[in-house]
Amino acid sequence: MITVTVYFYGTLPRRFAGYDPQQGYTVALRQGADISNLLGHLGLAREKVAPVINGITADHCRKLADGDRVRLFQPVQGG
């Protein structure tokens, strides 16, 4: 198993009861899991969500490593 920490932004945080923006949301996944597995686990598979890891927008097929911090954003435009 691997453990990743997820941070939610936009209107996503309120969909996860007890979510603490300081601590993030800890998710345990099987070894070899990717972003799409993570989104499926979170119930976000059917939504447009942009995952950012280490400052780079990640593909949904990107494999996750133990200890990864994943930031999840909804689509935005300029403001």
Partner: protein, 380 residues
Amino acid sequence: MGAKGLKAVLVNTEGKSPDAVADPEAFQKAAKTLARAIQKNSFTGQTLPELGTAGLVSAMNSLGAFPSFNATQGVFTGWEKISGETMAEVIRKRGGKNKHRGCSQCIIQCSNEYVDDKGDYMNASLEYETIWSMGGMTGIDDLDTIARLDFLCDDIGLDTMNTGIAMAVAMDAGYKSFGDARAAIDMLEEIAAGTEMGVILGNGPAAVGRHFSHHRIPAVKGQGIAAYDPRGMQGNGVTYATSTMGADHTAGNLIGQYLGKQLDPLSAEGQVEASRSAQIAMAALDCTGLCMLAASALNSPDAAEAMVSLLSAKTGTSLGKDVMTEMGKRMLKTEREFNRRAGITREDDRLPRFFREEPLPPHNRVFLEEDEDLDHVYNF
């Protein structure tokens, strides 16, 4: 216009007939389709009403392209304290308004009313660009101070973006320290008082840079940049360099494509084409008067078609699907010609040198686009 001594433009509406719509029924039908698309779009229908434009603070810091401490860092230490999520929570707890109809008849209502810890009004509205210029650029990580600076700018009659950058350049040059909230308020009050330094600050970042002989002036054609660093978002740099208005993010912002992974923000590849398309689209949009945030919903085919129907119904002309592109190109060519006659040349379509020479952490990139590529942006 300020340089010509123009103080105001008055429009006498006496005798003006109501704005004519050639086909009111078709106009209303198209407007309803567009309104539905705006409400269905997650950005215009959910994020903006809840967080306003401030929702961009988290995204831009997470992507490492939030110009901070006068564009020397791409991530602002303490950005979580000034993020849209934090702002919305503070407003909610204090009894302010997270949703506010700042613009007449608006169905998005992305504006807000920020209040102090006693629930008393501080300012409206706290926006992304202001949080950046008065916060990230000056090193101030306190929303209450930023709200106060925003109020003072509104009260004095200053643009928060250029004023924040002007203060950041002054801080970078050693006039004051980054993060010094009292110094930032004092600088604004100097502008209001019209002191010698206040006049320099009030003339914007380029004037401040010249005064201190400081090389790091994040401005193009005298216009300060916005909250997207061109080294972390190369295409926004192309827009800053080549826009007829100077470093104006509203002229062609590519954040949506970067976050959506349609374009690599750190590579030179595809940026000129993307900026060109965005600039054409935004120029057309500006002609229609539709808000640029509402226009985010035009990504859907139904909404794009409704926009053409709307213009056709308004003008009584059957317009083709390329009308927006054609209008945008015509507008940009007109603006370019205006600039040419005003003495602005391709040498002005350049970013300041430091963007090419000083890598921006955390990605440690410089601006990569070649000058000759910038010269091809308007090849249409």
